[in-house]
Amino acid sequence: MLQRIVPTLLATLLIGAAVAQTQITVWHMEQPPQRVERFEAIAEAFNEANPQYEVEMDVRDWNNVYQNLAVAAASGNQPDIMFAIPDFALTVRELGIAQPVTDLVNDLDAQHDFIDAATDAYFDDGEHWAVPLYGMEQVLWYRKDKFREAGIENPPETYSELLEAAQKLTGDGQYGIAVPAGRNLASDQVIYSIMLTSGAGSMFDAQCNPTFDTPETVRALQLYSDLLAVSPPDATSFSWGEPQALFNAGTTAMAIEKGQYLTPWEEESGRPAEDLGMARIPVADEGGQEGTIYYSNGAMVFADDPAKQEAAHAFLSYVLEPDVYGEFLGAEPGLFFPVTQSGLESETLWENPIVAQYRDYVEEMIAYSEYGALFGFTGGYVCDEITAVSSQNLLAQVVQQMATGGLSAEEAAAWGQARMEEAVADFRSN
């Protein structure tokens, strides 16, 4: 009897161990319901195809994710994978929980061919620290119906044309444009896009000292200040949502933002797709250059257990398989851009109804990403000091100083330079 039971028990235990699931948790900060649902669906499909793993998606809020992560890391309960953006990844690395993913990135690069800009931002100290997943960039959105009413034929291409159009479109409760001036990442990003088109994209020298106060920055700030004058008075509290809501409601005629404007346009504005216009961000009249903020969102791996690392690598590899990847990017079509060559050719991406409807715009945005840049990651080097600047939203604070602090563009540039020097000194002296 015993001779039969013991082998049976051993066999059961061995089989159990063989099919035991490795569970991993993924934190992401894409809170809109359609993005949450799509990510959940991708994870479920992965779990079904790979029963040895179980991926659980956990959505977090960008505003307090760092505090959540710091507390979780202190108690050893950090997620196994977390989505991040480049400057945030630098900050997270200081927690000491990030695992390099160089081998995985190299493998995936061989299979899918990453866009260099997507991987460069996460390459530091000889290692890759995140697997790029999707790119984002800003463009100028404009309402063709409002432009027609105002007799403006073409979208603006230069600062003076942009300002002239915005002024012409302002009146009778309507504002030419809505630029954000809240103390938040949205304002940081819009002012940085304008700084890029003024030639002021490099905020640090090779020694990572701030070089903010330049004539090009002053020119960009002057334009922003002028645009604030034709923006709604609430601009000082605007983040991402308000300009889009006002744009769709017809209260404003232009906005500088990323591709999330595509999906809700027809339903929220009540206008046909043809009335939504998209153009490159206007450049300075003299010496200006093409530019827009561009950054790739990447997945950092915190799992240090080999089994969990294997599961994390398997999941990220699965996401980047072209057919799956197209579905993944469809979580927010037009906002999430492929960061791999194989992703660009993914059928499921181009079959997405929104991408298919606005194919010209999506293609143009992908082409435009060639001019993309991100603060702290220009010049071919990474400045850790950017975390001191971006975490305190110093660019947005500069904008606020002009919007309501009474500073001119010149004074605001000097104020920003001083604040950045203080922040960097503080960062270095800790």
């Binding site: 108690s75 000082t236 001191a388």
Partner: protein, 294 residues
């Protein structure tokens, strides 16, 4: 030989749970904060080295800290004055109408609204695109263009004080109303016989008899107001242009946005010392003086 008092073990046992709770929730966190302030810790849970008084020097030489302390002064003063005056007025108006419970409950309404809802109400009411206040002021010709109460550095602090006072004045109303009911009617009747007018009754009877309560309300209200963070964060996040960046905002920003836990802890300890000194001073000067004046 003097006999020592025996230890009252049952009494000690009964207060032990409270002492343990106090140690866990107050003494330990304060001790951790003090400990962190002498290190170079950047984030919670990160390894850190002893740094002596470096963080204290950094805080005390940081203009942003002193500016935020100045704004906290404005915040405290504005809230204390507005809340006390409004609460006093309502308490005086309604103290003689004790039967009108409905009115008293109506005054209490803002107090029971959650802070998040108060913030949303405040920002909606004053939104320049769809807010009721800008609409009405435009309609009445008081303002001829759109305006935003929280969007201007000149108006933001005042607007926040009004919003916060509207939220919290019912608490002071209840306390003052309670104090007013303790003043014996006979005193007013005697004063009336002596020919005292309303002002005399207020200044010679009401005010002296409730001054101790007012002193305590002032102390509690000041400490309470000083520590308010949620309303400011939800409505203005310390902006625009740092116009509402008070000391608690400084502590939060330093810890969770500038990622400098040690410096933030040092600022917390400094503020704690300030507030303790203020409480001792205020209690000795205002509350005890009022008590002895009775």
């Amino acid at each position: 030989m003097k006999r020592r008092n025996p230890i009252d073990w049952p009494a000690l046992l009964m207060v032990l749970p409270f002492v343990l709770i106090l140690i866990t929730l107050v003494v330990v966190p304060v001790a951790i904060a003090i400990g962190n302030s002498f290190t170079n810790m950047k984030f919670i849970g990160m390894p850190a080295e002893f740094a002596g008084f470096r963080q204290y020097r950094r805080v005390l030489t940081d203009p942003l800290f002193w500016n935020s302390l100045g704004r906290s002064g404005q915040w405290i003063l504005g809230n204390a004055l507005l809340q006390t005056i409004v609460a006093f007025l309502f308490a005086l108006l309604l103290s003689r109408r004790a039967k009108n419970l409905g009115l008293q409950l109506a005054v209490l309404l803002p107090w029971i609204i959650p802070t998040v809802a108060v913030a949303v109400i405040g920002t909606w009411l004053t939104n320049s695109s769809y807010g009721l206040l800008p609409y009405v002021t435009n309609l009445l010709g008081i303002a001829n263009e759109s305006w935003n109460a929280f969007g201007s550095a000149d108006r933001a602090m005042g607007s926040l004080i009004i919003l916060n006072s509207w939220h919290w004045f019912p608490f002071f109303f209840v306390v003052i109303l309670g104090a007013l009911t303790t003043v014996p009617d006979e005193l007013y009747e005697a004063a009336a016989i002596d020919g005292a007018n309303a002002w005399h009754k207020f200044s010679r009877i009401t005010l002296p008899l409730i001054s101790r309560i007012l002193g305590i309300v002032g102390l509690v209200g000041t400490l309470w107001s000083f520590n308010i963070y949620d309303t400011i964060f939800l409505v203005t996040q310390g902006g625009p242009a740092n116009a509402t960046f008070t000391a608690p905002m400084y502590v939060y920003e330093t810890a969770f946005n500038a990622f400098n836990m040690a410096k933030s802890s040092a600022a917390s300890v400094i503020l704690m010392v300030f507030m303790m000194l203020f409480a001792v001073f205020f209690y000795n000067v205002a509350v005890r003086k009022a008590y002895h004046a009775r």
